[in-house]
């Protein structure tokens, strides 16, 4: 068995009174494509900033290619992205790429990289004059320019249109196909579904789930069922319906409730079978945020 690319063991990191990561352990093997999911403030970005050597953990250890990420030699095989707004505005696109490339012993040729990311025509443009989507593509291109064995991508396609997103996904799949390891964070379930093989769900500094893609998706793919009841809702009875993970009242005066369930079909069938009186039935897929909240509450209750 080969040594892990990233090894996080019992890491805790606080910011003042806030615990961003609480005793987190995680290992990433060479060639894995890991998606990290979690709501804002869950601790994903903090975890990446520990792996790329920007911050130090308060407790526990982080290994990057077996070394301390805070020493430059450990980061020769690492590619990461600046935030989209973080490019030096007066430098030209090719200059920024070249600047980053020269930090690595075996960089990709700048021209070909710009071609791959659809930036070839913009090589002479100052980065301050790029659109949001172009900046994002450039930021991801910077992660790959050093021919790294591992790339860390924090929200790589936020703010991109559909074409831009698919272009980036294709570039990342190419990179992964040649043996590259990818760790990416995302708000979009769709993005994680399109790319990742393994999913880590983080919230409140804890790893809630760490499993193969379909296993985790099955856990977070909940549906929201809303209905209005004739009488005051018996929340306890509702909670016992099939697959229900969360119940909340939404009505102002009306007895409207929202149920989060893993199996909306079974839930509706059960309501009908028991002859429960209801009106204004509404079923839609829950947002990732709602799914996380449900998952989080369930973990806390358990």
């Amino acid at each position: 068995m080969t040594a892990p690319v990233i090894e996080v063991s019992h890491v805790t990191r606080r910011f003042g009174a806030v615990v961003a990561l609480d005793d987190v352990s995680l290992a990433v093997q060479p060639g894995e494509l890991v998606g990290m999911l979690g709501p804002n403030g869950a601790g994903k970005t903090t975890l990446l900033s520990l792996v790329n050597g920007l911050r130090k953990p308060d407790a526990g250890t982080i290994r990057l290619f077996g070394g301390d990420p805070r020493t430059p030699a450990s980061r020769v095989g690492l590619g990461s992205t600046p935030q989209e707004t973080g490019l030096p505005p007066t430098l030209r696109v090719a200059e920024v790429v070249d600047f980053v490339a020269r930090h690595y012993p075996n960089p990709r040729p700048t021209a070909r990289l710009l071609e791959q990311f659809g930036l070839a025509d913009l090589a002479r443009r100052q980065t301050g004059g790029l659109s949001g989507g172009e900046k994002r593509r450039l930021a991801v291109a910077l992660a790959l320019v050093g021919n790294p064995a591992l790339v860390l991508l924090d929200e790589p396609t936020t703010g991109l249109d559909v074409d831009g997103r698919h272009m980036l996904w294709a570039a990342l799949r190419d990179y992964h196909a040649t043996g590259g390891t990818i760790v990416l964070t995302s708000h979009y379930l769709e993005e994680v579904q399109a790319l990742a093989e393994r999913v880590v769900v983080i919230d409140h500094g804890h790893v809630l789930a760490d499993d193969a893609l379909d296993v985790v998706i099955g856990r977070v793919a909940v549906r929201r069922v809303a209905l209005t009841l004739p009488d005051a809702a018996d929340l306890v009875a509702l909670r016992d319906l099939p697959g229900v993970v969360d119940v909340s009242e939404v009505g102002n005066g009306v007895n409207r409730v929202e149920l989060l369930t893993a199996d909306a079909d079974a839930l509706v069938r059960e309501l009908v079978r028991t002859d429960t009186a209801f009106s204004d039935l509404e079923v839609r897929s829950a947002s990732l945020e709602e799914a996380f909240l449900a998952l989080t509450r369930k973990e806390v209750a358990a």
Binding site: R55, A73, S74, T81, L91, H103, P105, N106, L142
Partner: protein, 256 residues
């Protein structure tokens, strides 16, 4: 997994210098502003005073004082404020994830600062040469350049310490609060010969005064007080410790 060696520190330092110079000259007004202030001070405060401007030693000393001010101001502004501003941009933390330690970036900053500090001296020296009786021998001129680099080092440390420990808004206030009183009390605007006794004594404990005296000595041969070198070294060590401490604790932007 084998770890490849990082690129050489020297080639990275050259790279960082090149890009920092490039970034600076793409905003020409920053360069011009830096060159203008000491030259204007010379033009308005030294040239019209014939007693000073007409006397070779006084005029040369006055040029030295303003040169000292120019260098001190470049160190505090471009390192102090520059580093604080860079840290506030998201690109700086990204650069810190590249396989290079802090040294190439620091060297880049030092060379960039040196290039623009020396550029800032050109108009000052031109004005002194054209409009006053200031005079130096070639040997004195070369010696003075070396002394300028030496006396700049403590202020480099102070600038980096401020830049890596504060936000840009705090840094600009602190730089101004430090720069102008220290320049005034160090005899960079008015020659210390006209200071009252107590101020002169206090002045001699300041790094700005020590730097000024050593630079004036290089330019005119006037002997500095015996304390100049120990005073400058003492502050130099203190400011270097401050800079290293500030860099080590820095993790980019921090919010509470």
């Amino acid at each position: 997994m084998s770890t490849a060696p990082t690129m050489g520190t020297l080639s990275l330092a050259v790279l960082h210098t090149r890009y920092q110079v490039l970034e600076t000259i793409r905003i020409p007004v920053a360069v011009i502003g830096n060159m203008l202030f000491p030259a204007l001070a010379m033009l308005f405060f030294v040239v019209p005073q014939r007693v000073v401007a007409g006397d070779p030693v006084s005029a040369t000393a006055a040029t030295g004082q303003l040169a000292m001010f120019a260098v001190m101001s470049t160190c505090l502004f471009s390192f102090g404020l520059g580093a604080a501003e860079d840290r506030a941009t998201p690109f700086e933390p990204y650069v810190r994830t590249l396989p290079a330690g802090p040294v190439p970036r620091m060297i880049g900053r030092m060379f960039t600062g040196a290039v623009f500090a020396l550029l800032g001296l050109i108009p000052l020296v031109l004005i002194a040469w054209l409009f006053t009786d200031a005079t130096v021998t070639p040997r004195q001129a070369v010696l003075s350049l070396l002394v300028i680099v030496g006396v700049a080092l403590p202020f480099l440390g102070l600038g980096l310490g401020i830049g890596y420990s504060m936000s840009p808004k705090a840094a600009i206030a602190v730089v101004q609060v430090v720069l102008f009183p220290m320049a005034f009390a160090g005899g960079l605007f008015m020659p210390p010969e006209i200071f009252p006794r107590w101020l002169d004594a206090f002045s001699q404990a300041l790094p700005s005064r020590a730097g000024r005296d050593l630079l004036v000595q290089a330019l005119t041969g006037i002997d500095p007080p015996a304390t100049s070198i120990p005073v400058l070294l003492g502050w130099g060590v203190l400011f270097a410790v401050f800079a290293v401490w500030a860099y080590r604790r820095d993790e980019g932007r921090r919010f509470r």
